[in-house]
Symmetry: C2
Subunit: 519 residues, 2 copies
């Protein structure tokens, strides 16, 4: 993990990655429409878009906001290269005015401003806190199943922000300062077949002294462990013992092997105990084991029982602090079940289901035009859900007397902010025509001006800073919004003024989208 | 789309993107194990790994192989920078031998060889051909929902290889030569509110001549269309008409608006017909419409009926070739249902469900050690499915007398290849102990040596070359393996010799992973 000294260099590295998104990485229709706007002389008209999502993911009660740094660095560095423009010339229709391409070459974001909530805020995007169970540490290990290289980096960064403790992704560790962790692959174990392959064969005790024949020491312990547990040494896989021996000699202070390459109870656990007892005899502290298949709960109980028995028999208090890491296609559901059952798992590694969000692989964010030249715009649709809320807005979070968020209120930005202690009336979304009165104990404005006329105007947060905000943000949220099963809906409401604007535009009696009264 | 002349430059561009995966983008345990191997002097031992997957995705009958170019370019350019090595020094345990880091600085892939099937082969990875229905063209438009920038590029490239015709992703067009397409966003429509915003207001006829007042022309057509269809001009949205007018003036040869921003039947379709008829009068060929909400089948039938009626009434044969593009959260299932129902959709745009693979967001590929120093290695497991097949292998595809693949046969590479017309016995996977006899009419070796001692030894294929191979590969496959519902299982079998090796190692009487007989 990067030290504090290296944090500035790392922040620079993190930014260099985030800013390399090329401006051509967008849908073609952005260019066809850009030309149509430009051709009509409308490219200098001020317009407001807003980004939102319609439902919390996974049937949950809240979301965490992240991704702002990526956007801001993209915007600040936005420019088309000559090659980009030539490519666009080749794909846009023949006859497209050449002056448009000259315009693109000069285009930057100096006229763009963005307001947003800070990264790590609870907003009712990608949530992983829900994986957290009692006490345990969580490790993200999904790189191999992510969508390409950036997909893997994205997953590592945002799961860390969301509450994971560790990642297996070495580049994410370097770029984002996320603590990295890793144990042993099954292939390491199966690459050994005999004790003859162990080299070097000696280990110097932790406190110093001459090198000890480590193979001989471990063989002695294996006999005693088998006797204690009533196991047969003849069922122990020689290759597995050789692999653990070799790894312990390389990493005497970091011994955490995977013990299910053959059979946990007949071979893996016995080999671990023998090697770990030998390490303890030489004053090293073994770390623990990883289980990667089968019934993790049942096995973890058995492993813990054996650890305790070893301590009782051989007086090795180090065995009381051994950790058990569980990894085996862990999903949100299987982790919830695991948390319900008795088990002794200290660290859970989650991969595929986390980085690919199996239950809901996309959030469904929408980005809609809401104002042009100061006038509100609204999209209506035959799917009522696809209609949008018109006008430039402010969003306030109303807190109750316990300091807990009770409602997010969406107002037109021209409205005065709600005041603490003053009652107001509003229309909760989803409950048409139901007017509600609420008196907030505290009011927070959710959106900050983060990008103003082409410049980043809000300090970019590192992954760990956003992670900290996420933790704080989640702490204030009432537990009934956070639970996995049937979370309470959090109220999002429209101000009376915004509600009236929607009604007016829908009826066609606003300048927002009038009907063609005569032709 | 890139022209043939630009294809070499584009290939260079494509490679520059594929080769930029940094070597640190891997799981930490690869480095911890690398050190343990190195410490034990085993880093120069020859070993073989193989990559496979256990089940075809989406309950289907086959898969398409792709991604080889990415791997080969990564391998050929594999090298650690000094900064990479310093980072690794900071995360590996203190006391790790400094000579290991010197070793890493010199490390390359000059001793690595890879054999693989060519990209685009049917292998029983990510399948999108299944989206294809009768006649229609398919457009990928999932960039906004993909996992980060690379996720989006990856999706565009591999859906094209898998059979899609078009992408909305402009950068994918430039990098990979995929034909790009795009229409119009709802925000373009809602950005207009009145005909006063249309500028310029004139259009020069296709055949030349003086500029015509296009607004006036369209208004005239709108009246006639409303009369023909019995619709009220008073329900037409002025902003929608203004948007279509403005777009048509910018793109008279590429008019394909989205017609459901307000109401298809009361406004969008009428505006389209009026503008399209005016374009036809000026000898332009409008392209068609896009539907983005509601019941796409029903609406497409209505739209087609109106097109035909316009032609009948106004004698515009151009209206017979208008296309209807359908986009609205299309999934594999909804497309299958759409294909069953009567509809008039010519192009289907698929986004979220395609790039995030909602039904199964990961394939579950596994990468396992199978040979060390010429000796087979096998991982056994308490989950029988997690056991691996030992030894370096060859894979042959056996074809029947119709030239259709009937079985893939996995042999040890030391075995002689099966011969056409000669019967052989084998053990189909999934049917333990069932010996089967088969006489292939033709035999193809599936794996090619694509990377030999650090050099790419097989010409890298462009996206379009791999796409072509995929089409050919799919054509030979029997339809009963390709259907969506309950596809026939394709037979994959082990040679007798490989089957014996598995039995021997499982019983512990092979040198693969012997038991510890004495301690």
């Amino acid at each position: 993990m990067a030290t504090c000294d290296g944090s500035e260099a790392r922040a620079a590295l993190e930014r260099s990655v985030l800013r390399r998104v090329p401006p051509l990485l967008t849908d073609l229709y952005q260019f066809t429409m850009a030309y149509a706007y430009w051709r009509a002389g409308r490219h200098n008209e001020p317009a407001v878009f807003e980004l939102f999502f319609r439902d919390n993911p996974f049937g949950g009660g809240f979301s965490l906001f992240a991704g702002l740094s990526d956007c801001l660095l993209f915007l600040q560095n936005f420019a088309f290269s000559d090659d980009d423009v030539e490519y666009l010339r080749s794909v846009l229709p023949a006859g497209t005015d050449a002056a448009f391409f000259s315009y693109l070459k000069e285009l930057d974001c100096s006229a763009v401003s963005v307001s947003a909530v800070p990264e790590g805020s609870v907003v009712f995007a990608r949530v992983c806190e829900r994986f957290r169970g009692p006490r345990r540490r969580l490790m993200e290990m999904g790189l191999r199943r992510a969508q390409g290289p950036d997909g893997g980096l994205t997953a590592s960064r945002y799961t860390y922000i969301g509450g994971f403790d560790l990642t297996s992704n070495a580049l994410a560790g370097r770029l984002f300062g996320i603590p990295v962790a890793g144990t042993m692959a099954h292939s390491y174990v199966t690459s050994f077949s005999s004790l003859e392959e162990v080299w070097p064969q000696t280990l110097v005790p932790c406190g110093g002294g001459g090198p000890i024949d480590f193979i001989c020491l471990v063989k002695g312990w294996l006999g005693r462990v088998c006797q204690l547990l009533g196991s047969k040494t003849s069922l122990v896989r020689e290759g597995e013992l050789a692999a653990f021996l070799s790894y312990a000699i390389a990493y005497p202070q970091n011994f955490l092997p995977v013990i299910d390459s053959y059979s946990v109870s007949c071979s893996g656990l016995l080999c671990f105990c023998a090697v770990a007892l030998a390490l303890c005899e030489l004053q090293y502290q073994p770390l623990g084991v990883r289980l990667d298949s089968g019934d993790l709960c049942r096995q973890s109980l058995e492993v813990r029982r054996v650890f305790k028995e070893c301590n009782k028999q051989f007086s090795v208090p180090q065995f009381e602090s051994l950790i058990i890491v569980g990894t085996n296609s862990i999903s949100e559901q299987s982790l919830a079940e695991l948390n319900k059952k008795e088990n002794e798992i200290d660290v859970v590694g989650v991969g595929t289901h986390l980085v690919t969000c199996t239950r809901q692989p996309s959030l469904g964010c929408v980005y809609k035009l809401i104002e042009v030249r100061g006038r509100p715009r609204m999209k209506m649709s035959e799917d009522p859900e696809k209609s949008t809320l018109p006008g430039r807005k402010s969003v306030y979070r109303l807190l109750d007397t316990d300091g807990r968020p009770q409602m997010d209120l969406i107002c037109l930005s021209e409205e005065a902010a709600p005041k603490a202690g003053v009652s107001l009336t509003c229309f909760p979304l989803g409950l048409t025509k139901t007017l509600q009165t609420v008196t907030p104990a505290q009011v927070t404005s959710l959106r900050l001006d983060v990008f103003t006329c082409g410049q980043i105007t809000f300090p970019l947060k590192s992954a760990s800073e956003s992670r900290e905000r996420a933790q704080i943000s989640l702490q204030t949220l009432h537990p009934h919004h956070k639970r996995l099963q049937e979370p309470h809906d959090y109220t999002v409401a429209l101000s009376e003024q915004l509600h009236s604007l929607v009604s007016d535009i829908t009826k066609g009696n606003s300048k927002g989208s009038n009907f063609l009264l005569s032709n």
